[in-house]
């Protein structure tokens, strides 16, 4: 069954961002350009589909076309697009996603991508969020 998505009346507070396609390389450079204190609180997960960065909203780097993710109080194990909400009860979506991935995960539907990127995107991408590493550990800095 295809999961429908609808725009939220109020966006979720940001707790993570996802870069896909060619973006992770640009995101890497962006992270390198940021001060160590800002990067210190960020964690990342790298997959073949892209890079997920988790951290405080004010520390997350901005880039065009990133997918911004937040957390619903009623589904603590899911990261969902800040602008979109699933068309099924949240607890059902959480239970199904957690069972599929085996734990907490980011849920990224195709509709959350910028229109220019939607053609290449999967209908629904699930990324396990367990095992996120500190950015400073994953990307040691020359100056560190």
């Amino acid at each position: 069954m295809r999961l429908a998505w609808a725009l939220r009346a109020e966006p979720l507070p940001v707790v993570a961002c996802f870069a896909s396609g060619r973006q992770p390389a640009t995101l890497d450079r962006r992270l390198q350009s940021l001060g160590r204190p800002r990067v210190a609180g960020l964690r990342l997960i790298e997959t073949v589909q892209g890079t997920l960065i988790l951290g405080a909203e004010s520390a997350l780097p901005w880039m065009p076309d990133l997918i911004w993710l937040g957390r619903e109080p009623g589904a603590a194990q899911l990261l969902l697009p800040t602008q979109w909400q699933p068309g099924l009860p949240l607890e059902w979506v959480e239970a199904a996603c957690v069972q599929r991935v085996g734990g907490a995960c980011a849920v990224i539907p195709r509709v959350a991508y910028a229109p220019s990127r939607q053609a290449d995107a999967a209908e629904l991408l699930l990324l396990a969020t367990a095992g996120a590493r500190p950015v400073l550990e994953a990307r040691p800095r020359a100056a560190a």
Binding site: V14, G21, R22, S33, S58, W62, A114
Partner: protein
């Protein structure tokens, strides 16, 4: 709506922008104060000490050409300190009259800090002054020219008698400390909070009265059904409003309508209802409960106040547009990745991209987003090779 009223609303927007250039994140407070003044309702500001409540209130009062009275109340404040001393000459003649010159009964704008510390005698006299705009003490009975009284306190009183007094302040605004992203701004301008210059453009009492008169003639018939729906939604969620507060909410809605340049109220003007709800917790609950109903909320003069009350896209876009415009006007010549200006620009870009789906960003905001994105584009980034598309 007469053209002069529209022009006055525009002027008010400029005056507020001028005031807020000297404050940090107090736009909602200054705007709600002006809304209350146009509606002729009183405002209670609640929040922790040291959050620039007084500075913001004084700055607005300074921009409005009217007689201003301010007093910090304490447990031992005497009624004469607010209302004036007994007229000794009259007392010798056998009558008890109050010499009110320069005191609260003759003020057009009043600010009473730590209001709930006032004695029973003070609060009883204030009740009539606030409700009926009449001052009565001994043989002195006078009609007061008071347009708006702003009271401030750190918290709502628990005492029932004081709570009943607090209920006379229709509008409630809760002020918090600043967000992390504004700390550098606070450090930049905060030392001058005590010496905010008077706004270059001033708003006369006659102009304010013109807006108040226009508000009294606003056609509210179109909002009776949606306002009733909102009240029912609130009751269902356990948020109860007294009949008096429900009725008087219309005065704020009418003021919002006038400031929006219209003579007929619409659903875009319902947002002041949130500020009528007495407690911070109930206001937060109301924002959730009324989220869909207030989605059309909009007011170009008070974008932040609307945005605080309603998270609707139009309100959010209006507030972000103002923030973005202000930030772009302050852009420094040279930028680095983590400088305060760039951090604020990034915060706004995040808020736009996380809050509006692609293709849903209003045109004016999309233009500002482009300018911000261009500014934070990173020419100084290390030039590592870009990986090929996987």
């Amino acid at each position: 709506m007469p053209q002069d009223t529209v022009a006055l609303a525009s002027k008010l927007r400029r005056v507020l922008a001028d005031i807020n250039a000297h404050l940090v994140d107090r736009e909602a407070l200054t705007q709600v104060l002006v809304l209350a003044a146009v509606a002729r309702e009183h405002l209670l500001v609640l929040g922790p000490p040291g959050t620039a409540k007084s500075a913001a209130i004084r700055a607005v009062a300074g921009a409005l050409d009217g007689t201003y009275f301010e007093y910090l109340l304490g447990r031992f404040t005497e009624p004469s300190e607010l209302f004036g001393p007994v007229d000794l000459r009259k007392l010798r003649e056998g009558t008890v009259e109050t010499e009110t010159r320069g005191m609260l009964p003759e003020a057009e704008f009043a600010f009473l800090d730590e209001i709930f510390l006032g004695s029973t005698a003070i609060l009883n006299t204030l009740l009539a002054l606030l409700n009926e705009r009449r001052f009565r003490r001994g043989s002195t009975i006078m009609q007061c020219p008071l347009r708006v009284c702003v009271a401030a306190s750190n918290h709502l009183p628990e005492d029932e008698a004081l709570a009943a007094f607090a209920d006379r302040f229709l509008v409630r605004l809760y002020v918090d400390g600043l967000a992390d992203s504004r700390i550098e701004d606070l450090l930049r301008v905060g030392r001058r909070f005590d010496e905010i210059p008077r706004s270059a453009e001033r708003f006369s009492l006659a102009e304010l009265d013109l807006l108040s008169q226009a508000a009294r003639t606003v056609d509210l018939s179109a909002i009776h059904a949606p306002l009733g729906h909102c009240v029912r939604l609130l009751r269902k969620a356990g948020v109860m409003l007294s009949d008096r507060r429900i009725v008087k909410t219309q005065n704020l809605i009418a003021a919002s309508t006038v400031l929006n340049g219209r003579a007929v109220a619409s659903e875009a003007d319902l947002w002041p209802l949130v500020y009528v709800i007495p407690t911070a917790e109930a206001q937060a609950q109301a924002r959730d409960v009324l989220q869909k109903t207030l989605v059309q909320s909009e007011n170009s003069v008070m974008a932040e106040a609307v945005s605080n009350a309603s998270a609707g896209p139009a309100a959010r876009a209006g507030r972000i547009e103002l923030d973005a415009g202000r930030l772009l006007a302050q852009r420094p010549a040279a930028l680095e990745a983590d400088d305060p200006w760039s951090l604020r620009a990034e915060a706004l870009l995040r808020e736009i991209d996380a809050g509006f789906a692609a293709g849903q960003v209003p045109e004016a905001l999309a233009g500002l987003r482009g300018r911000l994105a261009e500014a934070v584009a990173t020419p100084s980034l290390p030039t590592l090779p870009v990986a090929a598309e996987p």
